[in-house]
Subunit: 602 residues, 2 copies
């Protein structure tokens, strides 16, 4: 009866397995300088390893997670694994295709050796005698597990939050082992605010009279302290907007205030509940050790800079943040992206719009699932890059936009003809990546894109293009000078707030900059303005004055004067009428509807 | 020797006074239904009450404040009052002009009756037997103090954070007593996130084994719990940016991690220190009662809506928020402003740019001081409105912008001539308020302004104009239909992203909308485009295509077509050449450099 409720997209009934990875005779060397032995690890797997062994995916869990990612532990089990909405047949991480592994990390309290384990030297649980562990130590133990399972390479390592820290550590520690690193809602290092929240939580545990310096041996140690730490955590996992919409000032039951200190607001009851259920399943000592590992995590510390830390990585990276996440902020994800891009790594980034705060990495299975699905597929079967990924079938709207964006770029053919084979190309406002994909196919270029629209970014991910979601007005400071043979700015200059800054930045980053735009001095425009005294409306300028995305109007002559002012050399000019590929030869500022320039700093 | 260090801008040596305001025979009726007696109040005063008694200002303190606002308690005292940078001779709240009063609020622990006071029924301190008090109760006791001091009216009530809640309560409870209400970094009600932080802090106190249900009678009650509550508070008072810049990941001493659970990061040491010093001067029971009063505060609860709550107020309001304050957010301040504006109240608002988070209300004395100084002066001596306030002398840059902005509005004279005497006017993008001040002087209008620039907002505050800092693209939803006889949009329509939405909104809010803009079809423009094929540069359109704030280009004909499309009636059209007040009569779309329209929905 209960089994019937397990739907076909579930991995079904699963078991947590356990394996001893470190024996007493060969203890594990930890980053803190101490050693640890023995080490047992709890893990689960879903799906099948294929014959070539190239479909294995490691999932790294966050603070309060465990090895139980998906499915149920028994037919009576009412609670699925913690990422069941992402892992299963046909889901974002498709267990029909991939072999998925997750283990409880070192220091945890769900089957893997941690401070609540028995210290062989005392016969009692370690408590605060457990050595301080780090994210790198966790990853080291995960690698031992994969060795044990005879995994020779990982298609991907995937994780959110502290799980994302492990992903980054994997890419740095084992560069040849990891094809794709998918780091969600994470950072290379916590900032002062996050460390502060962790510290207050630890203080609450340590201040609990029942904590007895960690030597509580089993249940009931620091229940109130741990609950308070968890409450603080929960406030930081949600967004202000999310809390406002979910709780607002709702009272638990009464309409009127009770005028006492009982939990009365719905949000108080929620926190009480979260604190209470957490202490029933979690260990206060583990909470101390894991948050300390998170605080200590600092990828750049040993390398001088984040850029250096990533220097030897060989993975493709997908970095995902969420707009309302204030614990692991979009700015922190951007710092990862910029460090990777600065080193010329294959990195894609999207800041997914979500109101759910940090918790969004668990609560946006649809959007996040499509990004992960596409990125995995493009890594696993790159030859299929011309077709949108199968998860697109879920949403016809996206398919339609995919096509629309393609049609909007009428000057592709000409721009293609201007680019040398085997060159490097950055396409600004690259849309669905249509031009770049053509250039890769026809000219064997190495291409990257920048695009603002979330759905178009996904299109590019799907097509295996490195794509960074960004507003070009923010600049490209992370790329060093002359990083690209070509930078393309197609049909965009007239929509940019500060074209001078942007154009200068493109000229710094690219050896050549290709710019195309509609010619405002096309004769039909001039005639309309001159004769009718109205803002012109043409095929190339199809908008009314009040609803146009174009906020600058320029002609060939305007642009050329602009180039003179900036000391920019115009290497080539291709004035065009309509979609014809034959350039206009006579009086182009009058007869060209649009124009393509190749420019450089000479 | 020590006295010499007290500078001339200090109020000097001051004393906290104490007065019994509620005697045993006439207990105070509290909002919770219980009564309380006796009630003693600690307070300080600075400056002198003048003969007419119209210069009294009440300052309301926040959670951890007290009656000691400014100056020193003794020549040896090394710590000034909590708002010494704002209160004193020549400061934002100038004690040479004003008589300033502040009292420790009810429930506090710095001299006024609170839970640490002796319960006359038991002879021991109240502890949790103290009745729950509210912000309204605090204000009631403050009113008793003012009666006792024979204050007949308040020039202003001023406070930040929980002090701001008291300010709002004052304006609602005693509408005829308060001329100006200055509410800084505050809200009409806490949201779920803030209640959650308060609740976690209270949990930490209540969970402390030494709290013993509040019956700890004196020191050492819930030191660890109170310290944790204070730490949580401190994280919320700072901004992420502020913490990043102040602490980052700095370690207290060593370069390398110590791999233990001692406080190691600078931010941890800071929090330890803040927690420790707080428990030395504050009382855990008071912390519970004050945060509960803040959580309960909800101005709209008894009135159905915030708009209704403010219906009977008669004060002028100055609402101030800080851009990086995420505890009492700018959005919450905006909600106050919108409710007041909806009721036609005299309200001014500025969201001061600051990186200091909620603490900015204590850490931006320069900017905040100028706003408060100007608002007080404009309330105290409204006849001086034509001159900038004396605090302007501090910054010559502002004086210069003051003038610049004035010069930019060449169409003032003509717009003035279009407006009927004694009407109501909303000026969008009003700059320094020059037009509105002229209209008040010459036509006796009731005017309000909307402006984005912080310095220009201050100019308007200085000139006693109700001024709301806002981006017009956000809409004017808070004003009801036909709130104004005239809405003016002068030289702005061409810089708005979405002119259609904005124009519709203006037409909803105003009976008539006056629009002026530069004519893009002026013959010089047409000729330039037609003959030279370049974006036109004229006196009215003096920018290059790449650095223009104008993002739409329209002509008289464009605008008139736009009006037809929206069903808008053009009541009057005044085409102009240069700054001449004589309208262009022949072929205005060709010969007018700029134009003024009076429009309505007919």
């Amino acid at each position: 009866m209960v089994m019937a409720e397990i739907d076909e997209n579930s991995v079904g009934i699963v078991q947590t397995k356990s394996v001893r990875l470190v024996e007493s005779d060969e203890p594990l060397q930890l980053e803190c300088g101490k050693t640890l032995t023995p080490i047992d690890v709890a893990y689960e797997t879903y799906g099948q390893l294929n014959e070539t062994g190239d479909n294995a995916i490691l999932i790294c869990h966050a603070l309060s997670g465990d090895a139980h990612v998906a499915g149920y532990h028994s037919p009576d089990d009412r609670k699925q694994g913690w990422w069941d909405n992402m892992v299963g047949p046909g889901k974002g991480i498709d267990t029909n295709k991939y072999f998925v592994i997750c283990s409880n990390f070192l220091g945890g309290c769900s089957g893997t050796t941690g401070p609540s384990s028995i210290n062989p030297q005392t016969g009692k649980s370690y408590g605060l005698d457990f050595p301080i562990i780090t994210i790198a130590d966790m990853v080291k133990v995960q690698k031992l597990l994969l060795n044990n399972l005879r995994i020779k390479e990982l298609l991907a390592v995937i994780g959110g939050s502290i799980g994302g820290m492990q992903v980054l550590q994997w890419a740095v520690s084992y560069p040849n082992f990891v094809k794709a690193a998918i780091a969600v809602a994470t950072t290379s290092h916590l900032g002062a605010q996050s460390i502060a929240f962790d510290a207050v939580g630890r203080n609450a545990i340590l201040a609990d009279a029942n904590f007895t310096n960690g030597q509580y041996h089993g249940k009931g140690g620091s229940d109130r302290g741990l609950a308070i730490a968890r409450m603080i955590g929960h406030v930081t996992y949600l967004s202000e907007q999310g809390m406002r919409e979910k709780f607002g000032r709702k009272l638990r039951s009464a309409e009127q205030y009770s005028y006492d200190f009982n939990s009365e607001f719905a949000v108080e009851t929620y926190l009480d509940y979260q604190g209470q259920t957490f202490v029933e399943r979690f260990d206060a000592n583990s909470y101390l050790y894991i948050t300390k590992a998170a605080d200590y995590f600092d990828l750049q510390k040993d390398y001088g800079s984040l850029t250096n830390a990533f220097a030897n990585t060989r993975s493709r990276f997908l970095i995902i943040s969420f707009t309302s996440d204030w614990l692991f902020t979009p700015a922190q994800s951007r710092a990862l992206v910029e460090a990777l891009a600065a080193k010329g790594k294959d990195v894609s980034y999207c800041d997914i719009a979500s109101p759910y705060g940090h918790d969004a990495f668990l609560l946006e299975p649809e959007t996040l699932g499509r990004f992960i699905c596409c990125f995995l597929q493009a890594t696993y079967r790159p030859e299929a890059r011309q077709q949108p990924c199968s998860c697109y079938a879920r949403s016809m709207r996206q398919l339609s936009r995919f096509e629309q964006a393609h049609r909007a770029r009428v000057d592709y053919e000409l721009i293609e003809s201007l680019i040398e084979p085997n060159s490097t190309v950055l396409d600004i406002g690259c849309g669905d990546g249509g031009l770049l994909v053509n250039l890769v196919r026809d000219k064997n270029i190495k291409g990257e894109g920048i695009e603002l629209d979330q759905e178009l970014v996904l299109d590019c991910v799907c097509r295996r293009l490195p794509i960074i979601q960004q507003d070009i007005e923010q600049g490209l400071g992370y790329y060093s000078d002359k990083s690209f043979d070509y930078v393309i700015l197609s049909q965009t200059v007239q929509t940019i707030k500060n074209p001078e800054n942007v154009f200068k930045e493109l000229l710094r980053v690219g050896k050549k900059v290709i710019v195309s735009f509609p010619n405002f001095a096309y004769w039909r425009c001039r005639a309309q303005i001159f004769l009718s005294g109205q803002a012109p409306v043409t095929k190339q300028l199809p908008f009314s004055w009040y609803d146009s995305p174009n906020i600058h109007f320029l002609s060939l002559r305007d642009f050329e004067e602009f180039c003179r002012k900036l000391g920019v050399r115009i290497e080539k000019r291709v004035p065009l009428v309509k979609a014809s590929v034959s350039p206009v030869r006579f009086a182009p500022n009058l007869f060209a509807e649009q124009v393509i320039y190749v420019t450089s700093l000479g």
